[in-house]
Symmetry: C3
Subunit: 291 residues, 3 copies
């Protein structure tokens, strides 16, 4: 029976389940979206049982789970609870994209590698201790880049570097404190790709530091709220030349992010055994984007 309606179950830790994720689900072709807000890990099992005990094995791929919400750590806990609730082949596919962190990081690293492969490139991630920054660093390392993970706090930078090194065997990832102008300049030495993944309202790379970084080839700013995270890179930039550097802004990257999000939702309904976390989302996005 290939004619079952496609049901996406949205699990969201926020009181009001995200409108954004619901609209994208509809536009990606889900026939029904069951939206749950205020979801906690201990409420997950019964919801998952409802997903896996209702349709026959051949129809389980027409039911899927999307985990979102502004709290990315909570989203990861929900994913853990979902996976623990599966009973062998009785399972459905899941996409994790709390705060859009997975699709945003995937889109950023895909555009970073648009003009030249990332293997062997020297990359700096600013604001790397946030959910998007961590994922960007992980994906860059996985692609074989040499990665500096920057944070205003040396401790946080060290923690991120250790986490990524553990996750990606053989990766070349080092921490760098970027709170002081001199340290930032030092960190930029030899860097070819810089990605700013800080929160809204903070400029992480002023123009004067940027123009001194002669080795820079690509600059990606994921912050959409003024001031610019990388001074001089505009939100709408997409492969725009800025002072000799190929620049991408948050809205420019956002177009690809949205395409990836929709493709990932569509992908859920292809089989019932997928877990689309950041790496699967990146792989899927890579197949979408033109070389």
């Amino acid at each position: 029976m290939g004619d079952k309606k496609k049901i996406l179950i949205q699990l969201d830790g926020d009181p009001h389940p995200s409108v954004f994720d619901r609209v994208v689900a509809v536009d990606a072709g889900a026939d029904c979206v069951f939206s749950y807000g205020g979801v906690k890990p201990d409420g997950v099992r019964d919801l998952v049982y409802g997903a896996i005990f209702t349709r026959g094995p051949e129809d389980l791929k027409s039911t899927a789970i999307f985990i979102g919400g502004s709290d990315v750590t909570l989203g990861e806990s929900l994913l853990g609870a979902v996976r623990k609730s599966f009973l062998g082949p009785l399972r459905v596919s899941v996409l994790l994209d709390g705060a859009g962190a997975n699709t945003t990081a995937a889109a950023a690293v895909i555009v970073a590698g648009r003009s030249a492969p990332l293997r062997g490139k020297r990359a700096l991630v600013l604001g790397s201790s946030g959910p998007v920054g961590r994922r960007v660093a992980t994906l860059l390392a996985r692609q074989g880049a040499h990665v500096l993970v920057g944070s205003r706090s040396a401790e946080r930078a060290a923690e991120v570097a250790a986490t990524v090194r553990t996750a990606i065997t053989g990766s070349d990832v080092h921490p760098v404190a970027t709170g002081v102008a001199e340290d930032l300049l030092q960190a930029l030495q030899g860097i070819q790709v810089v990605i700013a993944a800080g929160g809204p309202g903070v400029c992480l790379l002023p123009r004067d530091a940027r123009v001194k970084a002669r080795s820079l080839e690509v600059a990606i700013d994921l912050n959409a709220v003024p001031p610019e995270g990388i001074e001089g890179v505009k939100g709408g930039d997409f492969a725009k030349e800025r002072d000799g550097v190929t620049a991408y802004g948050a809205i420019g990257v956002g177009g690809l992010k949205m395409k990836i999000h929709k493709a990932a939702v569509r992908q859920l309904f292809e089989a019932n055994d997928q877990v689309l976390d950041v790496e699967a989302v990146f792989d899927l996005g890579s197949r979408l984007a033109p070389a």
Copy 2:
């Protein structure tokens, strides 16, 4: 892409978002209704961002917002919060109809003017200090009627009159206390149209007072719960002659109210920049009703 599904986002201050409004939304052609209950003004921005950041400019008209809920004042606050969240052309159309007050008031004033234009008519609104009464008074004034706004409390009547006069420049609106039988008789002198918009269970116009009002042409009772708000006017009356007066009851008016509600929802999906508050709802209803 004119093929996007029509999504109506229902923002409702009550814990359970209204079934009534959801059914009407479906019957008016919305493909998906995203229902949110317990909505407070400070939760609105993220919901609106989800509406305006997901579809391209040409598709924004396929997403719209409906604001309902039993607390009409809260609904107005939600509308304010929605409008503040729009970012220039990044906006969607909105319909406000908390407690059905806008569609009910529009329907009442439209039937009031069915047989003869309201310009220059002398109208009395009983129970004018409630959400429906205030809107009825405003619409009557806007149509050029001379309006007496009645309330059992002289203070509340004065406040309503002042509010309507401020809203409708050049309007002729005066307060009248109607709690005492003599005052009510006095107020009815020369009145051609009377509309009772009080709460359930209160008779605002006894039959003996009504039959003494020789100038009366139209009597509209918006109260559906016994006893009658205008004694002798039955719920189902629609242009029914009662003691020489053309009478309309709550159910009679309700049929038009429902048509207006549905038409207003359909109208939302015509363009992305509409705000359908009471006056726009009235105008839309006027085009619907046969002359």
Copy 3:
């Protein structure tokens, strides 16, 4: 207008309305499911009014109510509140299936009578004081079986027996305490049909007791969680011979339960005046199942 979308309003006492019931509703052909969680009896009236005041009399059969949730007693209270909210012919059809108890009990009793009519059979219900057990006992009595209702507590058994006798005039129902092995053996004397409806994780009928019951023809275990409620009956059993007895397990019965659940939802949209509680669900299921 037979073209109105089929709307199912799901009232659920649990904080998150059941995914299971939503999926079944979709698969049974409901076009829209309005899901409400955390519903209490005093919140029901406004929800029902929204159902009955929105569509014309001829279209009311396209709106229906499903009452679910894990608390079966609360579900019964919600049904009471729903029925009290109807206004004469202004009503919609309702299906009660809190915790799946009605559809499960119906399926169990239908399979119990598959090979031979239940009239005059001697049946024992183990774990009869739970919501499924009570319903099983009621349906067996209604079919004309001689019913023993078992419970580890003699008091609870007596209460269940009294309740069923009151509900089904002329029924032959007696209580039996089954907590002690000897009592259980005694109770099994002459029993032809045994149905175990206890909670998860409790074995109500050990193999040695079962094989001593020479009169036994049919054994049905409704517990899906190990250990088996009837030792030796497997979850997937459907008319499987086990030691000379025709055995049915929870999953085996579950297939019919699901068919009944879907058929009951479809049935809701046939007319606007049905109340599908356990007996109507049983009758409907009996017409489905092959003789």
